[in-house]
């Protein structure tokens, strides 16, 4: 604007600021040790929009986008956000709205700082950008935490967890006890004898064999449907949740002469068996 040489360029505001709230949930003691988080649900109470304002809305713009992000605050007080859920809400429908924040709680757990609260950043934005975008989103208000809010309408964090003492695996099977039908998921010894394999003869020098283990037994199924669990999840099964590689020394011929070579074979040995839902998403790993 103030340059003699450059002509001023004026723009028209298309996008409006999002209203952003940061919710704070104390988490100490919320998730018992030796428990698996199945789901975490954030419930927000959307306050009704005054009828007069509703009448002024055009039918094309009676929705707003609500986005929930996990807010991570580091030691050096820098912060970053991770998107965990986002969906459209209608201005015509007030009441409780549920958001899946399981990933946020998984991230929080990875911090291993139980004293630190869970911070959830909720932003309400226009449904979409563009010339026909409206300001309807400014009419969306959720009851917030703290002062002036009746207890009933405060944001709620619902945690669904499973006691692994009852729904998890039992570790290693008891070698002395045969695994019978319906026995609880456990890791059983299984030896792979490489010496007994014709293809390995004179080729595999080490090891002569190894304990690969296998996961056997059944998993107890938790009761009843959960809010967000869709048809995609199968029953809980006893699976290998941690595996390790196996180094092998083989004989390789070079120039007609055999020489030893070390090779590492991934995912050859079961380190841990767990009960896990078939189809459950694998939690994202938190970066540095």
């Amino acid at each position: 604007r103030f340059s003699q040489r450059v002509r001023e360029v004026a723009g028209r505001l298309l996008a409006s600021e999002a209203s952003v709230h940061v919710l704070v949930f104390g988490m100490e003691g919320r998730l018992p040790p030796n428990s698996e988080l199945v789901q975490a649900v954030l419930r927000l109470f959307q306050q009704p929009v005054p009828k007069a304002a509703l009448r002024r809305l055009s039918p094309y713009s009676a929705r707003a986008r609500v986005t929930v992000q996990w807010l991570r605050v580091r030691e050096d007080s820098s912060n970053s956000t991770y998107l965990v859920d986002s969906r459209l809400v209608s201005l015509h429908e007030s009441g409780w709205k549920a958001f899946d924040v399981t990933e946020a709680v998984n991230f929080w757990r990875q911090l291993s700082r139980p004293g630190q609260p869970l911070l959830l950043q909720v932003s309400v934005q226009r449904e979409h950008l563009g010339p026909r975008a409206s300001d309807a989103h400014k009419l969306v208000h959720f009851a917030s935490q703290g002062r002036g809010v009746t207890g009933q309408a405060e944001p709620q964090l619902e945690l669904h967890s499973l006691d692994l003492g009852a729904y998890g695996s039992q570790g290693d099977c008891d070698p002395g006890v045969p695994v019978v039908e319906g026995a609880r998921c456990c890791r059983q010894e299984m030896y792979i004898d490489l010496r007994g394999m014709t293809w390995a003869q004179h080729w595999v020098l080490e090891p002569p064999g190894f304990l690969a283990y296998e996961c056997v037994g059944a998993c107890r199924q938790p009761p009843g449907p959960l809010p967000f669990v869709g048809p995609l999840l199968g029953p809980r099964q006893c699976v290998a949740s941690e595996m390790t590689s196996l180094p092998v020394i083989v004989s390789v011929k070079e120039g007609g002469r055999p020489r030893p070579q070390v090779v590492s074979l991934p995912n050859m040995r079961v380190e841990k068996c767990s009960c896990s839902w078939d189809g459950a998403p694998v939690p994202r790993k938190l970066g540095p």
């Binding site: 004179h202 196996l246 590492s264 995912n267």
Partner: protein
Amino acid sequence: LTGEQVLASLLQQLGLREAPILDQRDAEEVATSAHVRAQYVALLQRSHGARSRGK
């Protein structure tokens, strides 16, 4: 895990299509040097530490 799966993994790691056929003389001729054994032991120890996520 089966023997066939171990073989498949070995062939994949070595970029081979099938297991080589070696005879007794080859087996007697090959000597595992201290360097190779040390490499093997180091991998063995590391493998017990580094756990990968199962399927």
